[in-house]
């Protein structure tokens, strides 16, 4: 895993790198990983029930002692949700004068979770002003880091995984903010980017490999790279995806389910 403090230039350009250096697309590994997961889940037998599926998320694989409470607090979640909208807009080259208003507009039309909407509605004028300042600051960092995103790049935003395992008794859920590159290319070209409004913590490695595993199982194609960008610190952490990393993610998931 590589940590880059305040990367210069566009993070997407840096992550995509030189096309000639990319490995061939791997469509074989996913089946093996799925088999290991299914075998591991099968051993749990009666503890799993299809009528009440166990949902595994990126948050579940982060150890509790590593958890960043600030990101889980309602205001942290609200800020994260608004900045996530800025990621979506930024990927489409939408430029604005007021990042907060734009994020808020996009978030509201996207049918947000009722509890977060309530948190926002309960904010007084000072609270909203503080939130607006924070979102604009995170937005400015994001804007600088994203740079121009060429239209020809295959960019998807808020890419969801809802992967049923063990005949539907376990569901792997995940959302990646940005997925760049198509899984249909001959070379490995898919780059996953998770944008966080918190500083990058010790749980980053687990989160990154969970994202990689979810994407790999969903598409049956091993992604090339996975990264996390912090709009709080401007740090970028990246990892090239390989069998070792994905195997560790499988162990993480089985560990969560066994608990």
């Amino acid at each position: 895993m590589t940590l880059t403090t305040t990367p210069t230039g566009s993070i997407l350009e840096a992550l995509r790198g030189d096309r000639s250096e990319r490995p061939r697309r791997d469509t074989e590994t996913a089946a093996g990983l799925r088999a290991i997961l299914e075998d591991g889940l099968c051993e749990l037998g009666d503890r799993l029930s299809r009528s009440a599926p166990l949902v595994v998320t990126a948050a579940s694989v982060v150890r509790r002692d590593d958890a960043i409470d600030i990101a889980r607090a309602p205001m942290g979640r609200l800020r994260g949700a608004l900045v996530a909208q800025l990621v979506r807009l930024g990927a489409l080259e939408h430029r604005s004068d007021n990042a907060f208003i734009d994020a808020l507009r996009a978030w509201r039309v996207d049918q947000p979770a009722a509890d977060l909407l309530q948190v926002f509605d309960d904010l007084d004028a000072d609270g909203r002003a503080r939130l607006a300042t924070e979102v604009c600051a995170h937005g400015a960092t994001l804007d600088r880091a994203l740079g121009a995103v060429p239209a020809a790049w295959s960019v998807r935003t808020a890419v969801r995984t809802r992967l049923p395992l063990a005949n539907g008794a376990v569901v792997l859920r995940d959302t990646v903010d940005l997925v760049v590159g198509a899984s249909r290319d001959d070379t490995a070209s898919t780059v996953l980017v998770d944008v966080t409004t918190s500083p990058i913590g010790s749980s980053a490695a687990r989160l990154l490999r969970y994202h990689a595993l979810a994407q790999c199982l969903r598409t049956s194609v091993v992604p090339w790279r996975v990264a996390m960008f912090s709009t709080a610190t401007g740090e970028l952490v990246t990892a090239d995806v390989d069998v070792t990393l994905l195997g560790a993610a499988v162990d993480d998931v089985l560990g969560v389910v066994r608990q």
Binding site: L89, A151, S220
Partner: protein
């Protein structure tokens, strides 16, 4: 019931196998089949014209909440249109194609050629940031559909419209949703969001039956394929006699359930 259903883990090779490996012949419904369906649906009481589709089948006849435009509701129309545009004689990037689709709809509104409640009318009242989010959702949809399309070796096109069949004397319209048409209608692909419900197979058969009856010659698609990219799942059903009949039965069952639930709500 899983008979005739084929379940695969989503991968480029699985898509190619499922789409390109469809049977060579599909069932053809007769006039007698049409009359039988009309008689069964006509026997199910309704106080207004009804539309039955896979969505209603999968929800066991439960009525949907009142429709309102959202980015998620708009993405299919815009995304399919964009992919059609992007693969035309003058190809453009999907991101630009979606923007062109939105611009076209906004122009129709400006020219007074758009109905109230239409997608264009809704888009015309959106803030630029909301429009950008709609665009993002449509780009995601179009990219997902393109990923499916390029897996097949056969000629494909984006469906220009869903298939509709007005059932004679039954105050019923059947709808089959379709996103990609491969090989002159031989294989039909639907892109679905989220996780497939347990009733997804019944929904796919309902689509198959509705598409078959909607065909002027009564010819069934050789295979109907549902792709759930979020879940990494492909479900497919062949256009056989058994599957089309099973699809007809689930459509009638949905109408009955809808009628009963409607009665309960009225009571």
């Amino acid at each position: 019931m899983t008979a005739g259903l084929r379940l695969e883990t989503l991968s480029p090779s699985a898509l190619a196998r499922v789409i390109d490996g469809a049977p060579t012949e599909g069932f053809v419904v007769s006039g007698a089949n049409r009359r039988a369906l009309a008689a069964r649906l006509g026997a199910v009481p309704t106080d207004r014209h009804r539309r039955i589709d896979a969505w209603l089948v999968e929800r066991g006849g439960e009525p949907a909440t009142p429709f309102e435009w959202t980015p998620a509701a708009a993405r299919r129309i815009l995304g399919n249109g964009a992919l059609r545009r992007a693969t035309s004689d003058r190809p453009v990037a999907l991101r630009d194609a979606v923007r062109d689709e939105i611009d076209d709809l906004l122009c129709r509104v400006a020219a007074g050629r758009s109905r109230a409640g239409s997608l264009g009318a809704w888009l015309a009242n959106r803030h630029p940031a909301e429009l950008a989010l709609v665009q993002a959702c449509a780009v995601d949809w179009a990219t997902g559909l393109a990923d499916v399309a390029v897996a097949t070796a056969a000629d494909w096109s984006v469906a220009t419209a869903d298939a509709y069949y007005d059932v004679e004397r039954a105050r019923t319209t059947l709808r089959a949703r379709r996103d990609l048409v491969v090989g002159d209608g031989a294989v039909v692909v639907r892109l679905r969001a989220g996780l497939p419900r347990r009733s997804a197979g019944s929904g796919l058969r309902a689509d198959l039956a509705a598409a078959t009856f909607a065909d002027l010659d009564g010819r069934a698609p050789r295979r109907y394929v549902g792709v759930w990219p979020d879940a990494g799942v492909i479900l497919a059903v062949d256009g056989t006699d058994t599957s089309v009949r099973a699809g007809g039965r689930v459509l009638v069952r949905a109408a009955i359930a809808r009628s009963r639930l409607g009665g309960q709500l009225a009571a």
